[in-house]
Symmetry: C2
Subunit: 457 residues, 2 copies
């Protein structure tokens, strides 16, 4: 039986890939209102396929925003229940002119599939669907364990809908373990489980000066300029070397254990290679005294994502804008909380505001930082599965990004989460030319099939 | 004869206004490439009217950018030649959602005409055309003096074309005095001549960090963020109180004379009223120790107009942008030069750049600061003309804005310039809801007719 599911996946691989391309062609950008219908279209696409492959109780669950996709298959009495999670929404594709091929026209090049959402997370969500299809096909419409499937369409905008659903209806997602496929491998060919994730708060600072936009010739020297106020505020969020200056921001920070730091040091990581191939800047930045892995996994950050306002076209317009915004986010690590962190940030920003302007600080969304347990049989089922596919021992890493739902699974479902992901460090997540390695798409499906089979043992 | 020209203007006023509205409907935004054809259409509109009213040698003069409109009438032997100047291009209308009526659909409200370009400068240019029409109509197709008419379509983007034409072909604009209608009255009903203008340099600072946009979760703490670099740079351009920190920037600054400062103190100016009605901010900003008039007329400024880059849409995108820009301009006062000022600015900005990013500083355009002479008969012709219309003595002020062509007239034509303008301080130049007071449109035409008649005496 086992070989049949793996074999089914191998024999149907080209079709799986073509189906994924069809899903990637739907521009399900959750943050842009004009793509609302596309987001729903992607949800319906996933739901239709779940129905076709034989999953049961397939339905869209409406939320205040984009819908959830639910399905289950609960006929393996006495066997554990796995809750699989993925998301079908994607980041905006801009800047468009930096894409080699258009973001919503999937293109194969150099063993990769290029498209917005290829790896984050449509490709990894599709691995789950295709692993379930292979298992169902090989087992005559049955599964060796119980499975609940949930996918959301708001991961890139804070995941409010699923958070609310998990909090209100934990019994509908009752499971023994969650399987999240939305992370990456530490290096090509190196099976990886992610056991910690940074949390985040995403904020907007809005600064208002004059009542209306003013001519800088006539009013320059008398009217406040919101961009100067923002520059003064932002320049004081970190010192020149990257240390965060928000008072008490790090008070609850827990340092990684000595064992963890030792394991990270053993990972195949070359800082100069990382700078050259992944970042491409003249130098790296960050707090002195911490390695790159510590800085991106176990230290908080503050980032500015954009500063809308004023004149941003080509050429010259001599305006003193009435208002300007800064989109500022912070990554958090255990045991920092979004609530306390936002309050401290907000108080500090307001304390820095020049008197001539009014400043408002808004929380757009947030997610807890988490460290997941490795002390359960599902971790072994996962590492064994990946060893069978990759013939290597799994490394345990943390992730710098945030997957807020993992914290909700811990809090409301009281289940451990296996973060088994097949992205690669150079996959251009959230950036132009996002890609998914085609071999990893294939090996990911094989790994998930084997994980299910190992859980059934 | 004199009365006839004034009377012609009065009798035809409604038609003049309708014609102006037609000109305002052409969105001749010189800085936006998509409006290139509209800019030319506006030039052709002005040229056609000059031909119709009986001006001679009407032609468009091609430049590297938008065309100049030229016309003349040179049959008053022994009489002086006046060169009239205006511009038919306008600023971009954004932010569109703050306009009460659409920027290119002129609307009359409360005795004002609202539209982009209403006062800056189509309305004032049209006053010149209509004064000439009235004089030609009243004098049987003749003018009491010689007139050359020049209008440009690049004033809002630096005026390169006219600057080059004036430098290369001064003989084609040979005149005794220039009449520029592109400034404002100090207060309603108070005739005003502008005798000094700030110069400017408009620059872009471009900061590049990583090779491509990166995910702030994965790379936050290691990859440089261009917005932080820009914030650090901008925050160091001025101190918290508004003093410019660029080394040697003020070395050549000439302070206003004691007489000038005394006259400014006597002007009807209420700082609190100005803050409340014109600026509308909680406080004014600027260098301590200088009045608002000194700060906006006789002190340099640094302003940030926009910071394009990264994510500026609604919602959240967690990107560390590969690059970001700041559009920064500086107003200059005599005897600061654009060239020295830009070099000092550029050197200082580059000295502030963090090592992890690359910074480029570009000069987009510039204009000299000027102080114009009041020691000539044309100033008396202008003040007499305005006294006849407004029954008040003229005040001499400076302007905070830049009209680079005035410097070129001084340098290449060696003629004094009369800056006789009829805008008002609350006309929303370069901002939403730009307007032109309808009474000023009428009185401006009358003043120009009388000025021409006084010059002929």
């Amino acid at each position: 039986m086992a070989d049949t599911a793996l074999q089914f996946a191998t024999e149907n691989h080209e079709r799986f890939l073509e189906e994924l391309k069809a899903l990637l062609r739907i521009p399900s950008v959750s943050t842009l209102p004009e793509h609302k219908d596309d987001v729903r279209k992607a949800a319906e696409f996933v739901a239709a396929e779940l129905k076709r492959i034989g999953m049961e109780n397939v339905r869209l669950i409406e939320t205040g925003g984009h819908p959830l996709v639910y399905a289950d298959h609960l006929h393996a009495a006495g066997k554990p229940t796995v809750l699989t999670y993925g998301h079908y929404d994607v980041q905006p594709p801009d800047p468009l002119d930096e894409w080699v091929s258009p973001p919503f026209e999937p293109a194969e090049r150099n063993g990769n599939l290029y498209a917005r959402g290829a790896v984050d997370d449509k490709g990894q969500l599709w691995m789950q669907v295709k692993a379930l299809e292979s298992l169902l096909a090989a087992h005559g419409g049955k599964l060796p364990i119980n499975v609940r499937f949930i996918a959301e369409g708001e991961e890139e905008v804070g995941g409010e809908g699923i958070a609310e659903f998990v909090a209100k209806h934990p019994e509908e997602l009752k499971a023994d373990v969650a399987l999240v496929c939305d992370t990456e491998m530490f290096a090509p060919g190196l099976p990886t489980l992610c056991v910690g994730l940074r949390g985040m708060i995403y904020t907007e600072i809005e600064v208002k000066g004059a009542r209306t936009d003013l001519h800088s010739g006539m009013y320059g020297g008398a009217a406040p300029n919101p961009f100067f106020a923002l520059a003064q505020i932002i320049a004081q969020l970190k010192d020149a070397e990257g240390r965060i200056l928000i008072p008490h921001f790090l008070d609850e920070l827990q340092k990684p254990t000595a064992d963890e730091l030792k394991a990270w040091k053993a990972l195949p990581f070359d800082e100069e290679h990382y700078r050259e191939t992944e970042v491409g800047s003249t130098e790296l930045t960050g707090e002195p005294g911490y390695s790159v892995l510590e800085r991106t996994w176990a230290r908080p950050t503050v980032e500015v994502h954009g500063m809308p306002g004023g004149f941003t076209g080509a050429g010259a317009k001599t305006v003193i804008p009435a208002k300007a915004l800064a989109k500022v986010s912070m990554r958090l690590v255990p045991d920092m909380t979004p609530q306390k962190s936002f309050e401290r940030f907000k108080d500090y920003v307001l304390s820095l505001a020049p008197k001539s302007v009014t400043v408002e600080v808004r929380l757009i969304h947030s997610g807890d930082a988490i460290v997941v347990s490795t002390d359960n049989p599902y971790v072994k089922a996962a590492t064994d599965a990946m060893h069978e596919v990759f013939h290597k021992d799994t490394v345990f890493v943390r992730g710098g990004g945030s997957i807020p739902i993992v914290g909700d699974f811990v809090r409301h479902l009281k289940v451990p989460t296996i973060l088994m992901g097949f992205g690669l460090p150079d996959d251009n997540l959230h950036a132009p030319n996002e890609k998914f390695n085609l071999a990893n798409f294939r090996d990911g499906i094989q790994s998930i099939i084997r994980f299910v089979q190992n859980v059934a043992l």
